[in-house]
């Protein structure tokens, strides 16, 4: 194989692996939800259902077919963008999810824009001046945030910004969205909370990744060439730490879609995570399955993206 094609071959290979994993995951999601206790037909018809009615509904919903054929049918539907119909209110799942997903993505997007630059510069800075007062303060803050439950970060934020200072509304949805400042206010609380939580992880992992590359002979060589501390870190260490950093960022961002459940609950923000929890309590299988797939797709695509970045940033594989 010609050398120049090799990196693209590797990229395609990664994509292939991701796709394969997705199929395995969908298999797991489908059968795990199938195993949820409680018969769907019985739940839908309620306490008073006659056995005949239950049997009829099961037949109508195709629940009597073998699981494998239902799985394949479901998979084909997914590929075509048909997520099925909600058991509970007979609305297309696509319709139920799309609005919520847009909300979740908006929140995730704003949080990403706020937290990634801050987290990376703090992490790199802490590594650059390792052992300094700055590094210690950053380390202490990140440890505190990591050690504290998310709901405490959120309640603390409410307490400070909404109750004591009165700057921001405690709830974020249903408030006026006509002006920019109003939108900023509406998103501020959930974004602050989520940013704290994911930044702490990113800062820690970035710092560790950069420090690991600082301890290599080629960075010592740069020192012996007369390079400044800044040059050693930014020019020599950082490019080689890109892979692990991308991975850390991807892991943290994947948390924003499905992991925001606490923030969505506290701030009454209608995202997909809350939708899924609601779906579980009503045994709405198509909805649960679709939400689970959304989370897995977002995780897998972020991780694969980080993998590809790591691949392309390494000249040993690039050329």
């Amino acid at each position: 194989m010609p050398q120049s094609l090799q990196p693209w071959f590797l990229v395609i290979q990664r994509l292939g692996i991701a796709l394969l994993t997705l199929v395995i995951v969908s298999f797991a999601v489908f059968f795990a939800t199938e195993m949820l206790p409680g018969d769907v037909a019985e739940i839908l018809l309620g306490q008073a259902a006659t056995p005949e009615a239950v049997a009829g509904l099961r037949e109508a919903m195709g629940l009597n077919e073998p699981a494998l054929s239902r799985f394949i049918g479901w998979l084909i539907g997914l590929a075509r963008g048909d997520l099925g119909t909600s058991y509970v209110n007979n609305i297309e799942v696509v319709e139920l999810i799309s609005g919520r997903l847009v909300n979740s993505l908006k929140l995730a997007g704003v949080t990403t824009v706020v937290s990634v630059p801050i987290a990376l510069s703090l992490g790199i800075g802490a590594a650059m001046w390792r052992g300094s007062v700055f590094d210690r303060i950053v380390s202490m803050l990140t440890i505190s945030v990591i050690s504290v439950p998310e709901f405490m970060v959120a309640t603390l934020a409410v307490l400070i910004f909404a109750v004591w200072l009165g700057w921001l509304p405690a709830l974020s949805y249903g408030v006026d969205v006509s002006s920019l400042s109003a939108i900023l206010k509406a998103y501020a609380m959930p974004v602050i909370t989520l940013s704290c939580v994911i930044s702490a992880q990113m800062i820690r992992m970035t710092r560790a990744a950069v420090i690991e590359t600082i301890n290599t002979p080629y960075v010592e060589m740069a020192l012996l060439k007369g390079a400044s501390r800044k040059r050693m870190v930014l020019v020599h260490a950082l490019p080689n730490a890109l892979g692990p950093i991308a991975n850390a960022v991807a892991l943290s961002l994947s948390y924003l879609v499905g992991g925001a459940i606490i923030v969505e609950t506290i701030f009454n923000y209608p995202g997909v995570a809350k939708l899924m929890v609601d779906a579980v309590s009503t045994r709405d299988l198509p909805l649960i399955q679709s939400c689970a797939m959304i989370f897995c797709v977002s995780y897998l695509s972020l991780i694969t993206l980080a993998d590809v970045i790591a691949l392309l940033s390494n000249p040993r594989l690039r050329r």
Partner: protein, 289 residues
Amino acid sequence: MMAEDTDTTAALTTPPPRGPGWSFNWVGRIGLVVILFWALVALVGPWLAPYPPGQIVDYDFFTPMSANYWMGTDYLGRDIFSRILMGSRYTVGIALAAVTLACTLGVILGMVAAVAGGWFDMVLSRLLDAFNGIPSLLFGLVVVAAVGSSIPVLILTLTAIYMPGSYRFARALAVNVNTMDFVTVARARGESTPYLILREIFPNILGPVLADLGLRFVFIVLVLSGLSFLGLGVQPPNADWGALVRENIEGLSFGAPAVIFPSIAIASLTISVNMFIDNLPTKIRDRSE
């Protein structure tokens, strides 16, 4: 020959450099003390409680701290101090059980995968990687919402969430050790796979694995508190610390001690575990980051 001889005697006279390498600095010691304190409380706390934790002892609710009720009372007028002592048993106990299960399973599977390699390793790694993609709290929520919350369900769910990470960590360590010459020597001697895993590999990954166990314990405490905060964890009238925060969240706006002390309890436990792990002697920690 000379040099070698002096070498030998020199090694005999110098004391083994073992002791001091294992000592902790003061931050680590504080962490350890707090951890031991909570472990003790979880063990004997319920007998120390001044009031039965479920009993309404005061007709006023959200009372401030007083000589009778050291940490005030909750939204029903129950003694918070007693409830925190009892709650430690749920929080510490469930998390400890889950982390032990998760790490034991994860480490065993990880070492077997590292030594066996081949299809077993590939299938298991792929499967558990995929499982990692499901957000942990959400997975917990779904399981608990579906099958109902009870302590065994909570423990098993938390185990399921944290086992893949432990597997991945132990496997990576074991793969490194497995390529070392001393393992090859043992293999060339004709040793069985269980011997290789237990005697040659396990002692060399134990330190980092224990550090990892500590970090995972923190995550489990946090997820458990999150579940309880959402009302899906330990069920009333019993309450772990997360549930205590949830019950008394109304008191937040006027700074009732009923919501502050359970929060402090959670934070003190998790922060001290982190402090302890971060300041472990480098000998133990090694590659645990």
